[in-house]
């Protein structure tokens, strides 16, 4: 983990309420896709944890949905600097992917899949990506994944774009060696049940500090209590204990 001041390079909307922000600063503490940064915002007490979407030398890209005061404030920033804690969380373990992993991202669970996809392709893996959204005007990043060279399927719940249904519907016709996923908890649970291989799932929880000190985001797993911000956010399929 590192603390650093990042300069806003650009901050542009991808959909009605999803924004992409690129920041310039010391990214050296970020070591794996699936890690997150924690952003200090003026006037708000707790930092806002946001997953890393892409990394290029000293450029960091994050994608966030406006859901409350913090993300609203973030969306209105056009220039200036932000105080970040970087390199938080465990991130995805790429060594377990096998030759043909499938990546499933739902909504704002899509962004961390991007860096993961890029890294897996760099290792010569054949990567299939399934992106799930509710409806056509929420869809983002289809083209970006295609440009990387991944095989991309988009699903929308209402069928207004791509394949109609959930990411798990698209998963049925896939042949894959391993899965990686990030998205809302009902989707994670559905992927967990539908997947025919091992895999890794990234979870979201209300956090206090984001670096393992407050125990605010703990969860129970088969392998013991884990802090989502420290031993997570990525958990292996085999260790998950669903709370409900």
């Amino acid at each position: 983990m590192k603390q650093g001041i990042f300069e806003i390079v650009h901050n542009t909307p991808l959909t009605d309420n999803v924004y992409k922000m690129t920041l310039r600063g010391d990214t050296s503490a970020i070591t794996a896709p699936g890690q997150f940064v924690n952003i200090k915002l003026d006037g708000l007490y707790l930092r806002r944890p946001i997953s890393v979407c892409d990394l290029q030398a000293d450029l960091l890209t994050i994608i966030y949905k406006v859901v409350g005061k913090g993300t609203q404030q973030l969306s209105e920033m056009k220039a200036g600097t932000l105080h970040l804690l970087t390199g938080l969380g465990n991130g995805y373990d790429l060594t377990k992917s096998g030759e043909a992993p499938v990546l499933l991202g739902g909504g704002v669970g899509v962004p961390p899949m991007y860096l993961l996809c890029k890294k897996l392709l760099e290792q010569g893996k054949s990567v299939q990506v399934i992106l799930g959204f509710n409806t056509k005007n929420e869809v983002f990043f289809e083209q970006e994944f295609k440009s990387l060279g991944a095989q991309v399927t988009v699903t929308t719940v209402d069928g207004t774009f791509g394949q109609k249904g959930f990411v798990t519907d698209a998963l049925k016709s896939c042949t894959y060696s391993y899965f990686y996923t990030c998205g809302p908890e009902p989707m994670l649970k559905a992927v967990y049940r539908a997947a025919r291989t091992s895999g890794q799932l990234s979870f979201e929880k209300r956090m206090g500090c984001g670096f393992g000190a407050c125990m605010g985001c703990s969860c129970k797993t088969i392998t013991g209590y884990k802090r989502i911000c420290k031993e997570g956010p990525v958990l292996e399929k085999e260790e998950i204990l669903w709370e409900s």
Partner: protein, 303 residues
């Protein structure tokens, strides 16, 4: 001794800055960020007789100038703390550490305190009779002077190191609780723990916190904490550790003027993990600005 040094129950601290229990783990997470030996000491994660997961999540909520937590004393239990956490802590912290203890019965408190009292690295026992997030223990001991005295006596009977009783602000008369602890043999008083608070989620129309209520901390509670430290300082003769929303060197000086010998920093660590070393670095400059030569001279200076 340096101009920042203070004496807490017979042990000299290089400075009065102490990260508060529950915001600093067992130290080693922060040791990755800075040399934690710059601290006066720190109060480690509240430890109980048996391991605990704590309360269901969500157990964190943001507030204006603060936060609510309802963690509920997640810890690996005293045996595991002694076997695993303390050796790790010893490798990165070379000063006496403050052991923070919680319990669900008088016997629990005595048992856990006795075990930790035997540990070489423990300098003080900070006995938490003020956790708002557990049922059948914690705060119920800190809201009744008789129960507070009973825990104090039981712990004093089985320990050799200074016993500091940590009080809750969720009472009508904190002075009478503090006096009861001191009369029962407490070597020091630390205050305040968090204030019982609540937030609603307008989307779900339900409390944000799964446990409904939790402990409110952060800069918003500083004036209340300062007032209570002042009141207790007027009434007892043992050292006081002041805490509650402390976030700057200026806050530390205010706490000391009110009567605190040392000052704990809690929620601020969670927002800025470097806040304690920053405060220590800032103190000499701020002291100079207000014409303060040594910290010792200002303790309880505001009568």
């Amino acid at each position: 001794m340096g101009k920042l040094s203070v004496n807490l129950c017979g042990i000299e601290l290089d400075n009065p800055i102490i990260p508060a229990s529950g915001t600093f783990g067992y130290g080693y997470e922060y040791a990755e960020l800075f040399d934690i030996n710059c601290l006066g000491t720190f109060s480690f994660k509240g430890t109980t007789k048996d391991p605990r997961f704590g309360n269901p999540t969500p157990r964190i909520a943001e507030c204006t100038a603060g936060m609510i937590n309802a963690v509920g004393l997640q810890n690996p239990g005293v045996e595991q703390v002694i076997q695993t956490e303390l050796p790790k802590l010893k490798s990165c912290f070379h000063k006496p550490v403050m052991a923070n203890v919680s319990g669900f019965s008088v016997e629990d408190y005595a048992y856990t305190c006795r075990k930790l009292d035997e540990q070489e690295q423990v300098g003080w026992l900070e006995v938490n009779i003020s956790c708002p997030n557990v049922h059948g223990g914690g705060m119920s001991f800190g809201t009744d002077p008789k129960a507070a005295a009973e825990v104090t006596k039981a712990v004093k009977a089985v320990t050799t190191k200074p016993v500091i009783m940590k009080l809750t602000p969720n009472v009508t008369d904190i002075v009478c609780i503090a006096k009861a602890c001191v009369d029962a043999g407490a070597d020091g008083i630390s205050l305040i723990n968090t204030m019982l608070g609540m937030r609603m989620d307008l989307r779900t129309k339900k409390p944000v916190i799964a446990n409904k209520m939790g402990g409110f901390s952060g800069p918003a509670i500083f004036p209340v904490a300062l007032r209570m430290v002042y009141q207790v300082a007027q009434a007892v003769d043992v050292p006081i550790i002041g805490m509650g929303g402390v976030s700057s060197a200026e806050d530390v000086l205010e706490m000391m003027l009110a009567g605190a010998t040392a000052v704990e920093v809690g929620a601020a660590n969670l927002v800025d993990p470097f806040i304690c070393p920053q405060i220590i670095e800032d103190l000499p400059t701020v002291m100079k600005k207000y014409n303060i030569q040594t910290l010792k001279e200002i303790i309880g200076g505001a009568k």
